[in-house]
């Protein structure tokens, strides 16, 4: 490393400057923390096994937590029996040792004394709080019916993969017994990927199966000959998974990162960074397919056997040709291929992947019984040809030569894996991009093979606990009281009058939600928030209840092929009480206390359902005796999705040609511009910049704002390419206003060469109080109702009410 003292000082000066200044907007958070004593590990501590308090990264690490004199001093990754390489704690996990001691921790129950949202509260006793809630709930039920109460339990206090307190836990049990209204569906960040998956892997109108959605085991990248990270900030968002990418890279596997952002470690560690215009991944994938098909590098045997590529498609109506179309008495459910051996049509029944002696044609034009047809693969080739590199480069901005070299490399490196995330999909037509990416993997024979796949979460988490037991397994007459109806509750006619939100911060993070609630507040008679901190949402509550951290109670986790008992490490701080205790006390007051008679540990035992083969034999007693962590009864092999190639579609094949979507012209993947496109929307004249928010290493959603993270990253920054900034007279570090027709936001600019000109990125997770004006959620539409766009029928067809509205444009000016 050649670095002179002079150069070194230059580098450090920048760094120490970043640490020394800007401690939050007015430095109040860090100032308060600087005054609180820091814990020091000095040996002689007791250690307990706990689970990570974070949930949004879905990695569910298990920790060894060090406690001295009733205080957590540090945490580290715990040893997994027999699998030492699973020991892991990322920076967020390591820093969580400080979380219980945050100065803005909720300390005791409070009631609102000021205006809603003003943040003025008065301390009350737990009895007063619970009695007030119970009385109000009974009153609202009598006046409006129980459905006027919406209960939403779950979030960051729950341990992923199973918990006594999570969304499937006691909150749901309480809601069912109360017959409460369901909260509105989640905003569905991952639903668009799932839509694409459903059409390719599952689509069957009869079963309407929506499928699990994870992808290959995260370690399976070690079996890959090429790793493509596509629209996924893997190196910051899923730090554990990234270890295996580095490991594979060390062994010589090439890593390609496709993104409009040079995302920190993901891009820095990649062998090649392919810059792409946002929301054009489909065009890029189609172009790669064009190159591969023309070069004859697709896996013809695979396509014939496992995809619907050989099925003949009628040119007149784009529907798949059926046996009944060409043979009197032929079965309407049977498909038809063109057999190259006999040069004649041949019927193929659903779920049949191979017929001895038949070699179905993939290319060409055929006319069985005078009906003009082409194999679906030929139609794909025709579609891909519309995206030849020289054409596609104008859409996706990837140089034609790069498209070509990527295509050839991907096709030749078998197996090759694609790791992706929301980056490819958060737009209205994101499902098309994602279908194109999967189709690329299909034609190269990369689905259902170790080292291949198109994986999202990476890692197979078994469902170890029977969550339904909490909601449906109740044996008394009240078991059937589950008339929960999803209501559009914060809109006309404002049916919802009360909300119980347990560890939920929708006002602090959900897009457009603050704006939406402005109209609903006059109709809300009660909002109860149970949380760890005074979140932005808690400020709007009538009653605020202090919740416990995972470190302050016992719980269970069933993830990463292990069952872990998260032992209570410290006594709850202040007057904080667990979800279990609160639901139990409320149930007593509501008159159904007989369904909440178990203790915390009894609920854990109740969850360890011994009829579940995955956890049969793993009891709480055994867990306590054997160090708190036991491998579940799951196979040792790394999970590979679709290894058996038994796809759950009607045909039993990978259906890259989707007959159901002909009506919208989407039977094959294609590129469609975002709803607000910088290229084609008139709006782009007024708002020329694409607005994105990415996840960074410091936070998971709005969780993880401990002092250590604040020190590393004191305040929000808008990542902006200097070329865009200079055009607007903006300098590095300037305060700017980001705005569109919906809202404005004030934030500091950070010059960032790693972002595509014409694009902005504001990492998400920052709290409302971190901005002197506005919040990034305000710039985004709350849902389709707020947009001028129609709901996407392709999403609707499979029953997903997505609220994907990341198609929005903005402009920036100096503040």
């Amino acid at each position: 490393m050649k670095l002179t003292r002079r150069e070194f000082i230059k580098t450090t000066a920048v760094l120490s400057g970043a640490v020394g200044i800007g401690l939050g907007i007015d430095g109040k958070v860090l100032k308060a923390l600087a005054e609180s004593a820091a814990p020091v590990a000095q040996g002689g501590e007791k250690t307990v096994l706990t689970c990570c308090p974070g949930t949004g990264c879905h990695q569910s690490c298990v920790f060894r937590t060090y406690v001295r004199e009733g205080r957590i001093v540090k945490v580290e990754g715990a040893d997994y029996p027999g699998e030492p390489e699973l020991k892991h704690a990322c920076l967020r996990g390591l820093a969580s040792a400080w979380l219980p001691y945050m100065p803005d921790r909720l300390k005791y129950p409070m009631k609102r004394v000021g205006e809603r949202g003003e943040g003025k509260f008065e301390r009350i006793s737990w009895d007063e709080a619970l009695d007030t809630i119970a009385t109000k709930l009974k009153d609202i039920k009598a006046r409006y019916g129980s459905q006027a109460v919406s209960i939403s339990a779950g979030g960051s206090t729950a341990v992923p993969g199973g918990s006594t307190s999570g969304s499937g836990g006691l909150g749901s049990r309480f809601a069912n017994l109360f017959e409460a209204g369901s909260p509105p569906g989640g905003t569905g960040m991952d639903l668009v990927e799932r839509i694409a998956n459903v059409y390719i892997y599952y689509y069957d109108p009869k079963t309407r199966e929506t499928g699990a959605y994870a992808g290959h085991d995260y370690r399976d990248v070690l079996n890959s000959r090429l790793i493509v990270i596509w629209g996924d900030n893997l190196g910051e968002a899923r730090l554990r998974d990234f270890i295996y990418v580095l490991e594979a890279k060390d062994k010589g596997t090439r890593v390609i990162d496709i993104s409009p952002f040079f995302n920190s470690s993901t891009a820095a560690k990649a062998d090649q960074f392919i810059p792409i215009r946002p929301a054009t991944d489909g065009a890029f994938a189609l172009s790669a397919m064009d190159v591969i098909i023309k070069a004859g590098l697709y896996d013809a045997d695979y396509v014939k056997k496992y995809s619907n590529g050989p099925f003949l498609v009628r040119s007149d109506n784009k529907k798949l040709l059926r046996e009944s179309d060409i043979v009197a008495g032929g079965k309407p459910e049977n498909y038809v291929v063109w057999d190259s051996v006999t040069n004649a049509p041949k019927a193929v029944a659903p779920k049949v992947q191979e017929i001895a002696g038949v070699d179905p044609a993939l290319l060409g034009t055929y006319s069985p019984k005078g009906i003009a047809c082409k194999p679906a693969f030929q139609l794909l080739a025709d579609r891909a040809a519309e995206y030849a590199p020289e054409t596609a480069t104008k859409v996706c901005e990837v140089p034609a030569e790069t498209i070509r070299s990527f295509a050839l490399e991907y096709a030749k490196a078998k197996p090759a894996c694609i790791r992706h995330s929301h980056g490819t999909s958060r737009t209205y037509h994101g499902n098309l991009s994602h279908r194109a990416i999967i189709t690329l993997a299909v034609i190269c024979g990369n689905i259902g093979v170790p080292g291949g796949g198109v994986s999202y979460r990476g890692g197979y988490t078994y469902e170890g606990t029977t969550r339904e037991k909490f909601t449906r397994g109740i044996t008394t007459a009240t078991a059937t009281r589950t008339k929960r109806v999803a209501t559009r509750e914060y809109e006309e006619p404002y049916a919802t009058k009360a909300m119980l939100w347990f560890t939920k911060n929708p006002l602090g993070g959900d897009r457009g939600f603050r704006r939406k609630m402005e109209k609903a507040w006059p109709h809300i008679e009660l909002l109860v928030v149970h949380d760890l901190y005074m979140t932005f949402t808690a400020k709007y509550a009538d009653i605020v209840l202090p919740g416990t951290f995972i470190y302050e109670r016992s719980d269970i986790s069933t993830a990463n092929d292990f069952v872990a008992f998260s032992e209570k490490a410290i006594e709850p701080m202040y007057e904080c009480k667990s979800d279990v205790w609160v639901w139990t006390e409320l149930a007593k007051r509501m008159g159904f206390g007989e369904h909440f008679t178990k203790t915390e540990e009894e609920w854990i035992e109740y969850q360890l359902d011994q009829t579940n083969p995955y956890i049969k034999g793993i009891t709480l007693e055994r867990l306590k005796k054997e160090g708190g962590i036991i491998r579940a009864n799951v196979p040792k092999e790394w999970f590979v999705e679709w290894l058996d190639k038994k796809f759950k579609t009607v045909s039993g094949r990978l259906e890259f040609y989707s007959e159901a979507l002909t009506e919208w012209g989407e039977e094959l993947p294609l590129h469609k511009e975002p709803m607000e496109s910088p290229l084609t929307s008139p709006l782009a004249k007024k708002y020329p910049l694409i607005f994105y928010t990415m996840r960074i290493k410091n936070f998971v959603q709005t969780m993880g704002f401990d002092p250590l993270m604040r020190e590393l990253e004191p305040e929000p920054r808008l990542y902006m390419n200097p070329a865009d900034a200079e055009k607007r007279g903006i300098k590095d570090g300037d305060w700017v206003i980001v705005f569109n027709d919906l809202a404005r936001l004030k934030v500091k600019v950070r010059f960032f060469e790693g972002i595509r000109p014409g694009t902005l990125n504001l990492p998400h997770g920052w709290h409302v109080d971190d901005f002197p004006e506005g919040h990034y959620q305000d710039l985004l539409y709350a849902d389709f109702k707020e947009t001028p766009w129609p709901e996407n029928p392709v999403h609707r067809l499979i029953g997903f009410a997505t609220e994907i509205v990341y198609d929005q444009l903005v402009e920036v000016k100096k503040a």
Binding site: E711, L712, G754
Partner: protein, 188 residues
């Protein structure tokens, strides 16, 4: 044989995540504003920003613990002899003897010593001597499951760290300063 503890930072494996920085703080309890460990970005002007112009960019990281120099300039300038080098090579500041004059802060070319205004003394990375004395690794090494840190005895040519320094072409920072650091860096 006398031990000489040292470390290799494998910059190919360092992803700049700062788990080491956080681990250092929780292990050693340093207050906000005092950092015994830092991660520098070799790239653009700001932390975690790349060098170059879109899309031709590059970035890597340089984690900086105390270099535990074999010829420590901080030791030489300390007027109260508060800084000493142990037999195993760990360089420590005796806070009881430190008068907070900060000569060492000025002398160290790596900007390692940190003045703790609250305590009125200078502090720095101890290579987690409290852990090393119990046969454990420094906590920054322990938590780096990304494989970017290898710790051990440099005097033992067969130790993992010695072999890795050779295999991965480890180099020290600012060789020309003559400080003889024991923290080696392999190229990114």
């Amino acid at each position: 044989m006398i031990k000489q503890y040292g470390m290799l930072v494998d910059r190919k494996r360092c992803i700049g995540c700062e788990a080491c920085t956080i681990a250092c703080k929780t292990e050693n309890g340093t207050p906000i504003g005092v950092n015994w460990h830092r991660v520098l970005t070799i790239g653009g002007k700001h932390k975690d920003t790349p060098a170059g112009t879109y899309p031709n960019l590059s970035m890597s990281w340089l984690p900086v613990p105390c270099m535990h120099c074999q010829n420590p300039p901080c030791e030489r300038v300390c007027p109260t002899a508060a800084i000493t080098r142990r037999a195993d090579g760990i360089v420590l500041i005796d806070k009881g003897k430190c008068i907070g004059c900060q000569y060492c802060v000025w002398a160290c070319p790596y900007e390692v010593p940190q003045y703790n205004a609250q305590a009125g003394v200078v502090e720095k990375c101890t290579l987690c001597a409290q852990r090393v004395d119990q046969g454990q690794q420094p906590f920054c090494v322990e938590v780096c499951v990304w494989g970017a840190r290898i710790f051990g005895d440099l005097n033992d040519p067969n130790s993992e760290v010695s072999k890795a320094i050779v295999r991965k072409h480890g180099e020290v920072l600012m060789l020309e300063q003559g400080t003889k650091p024991v923290v080696y860096y392999s190229p990114p």
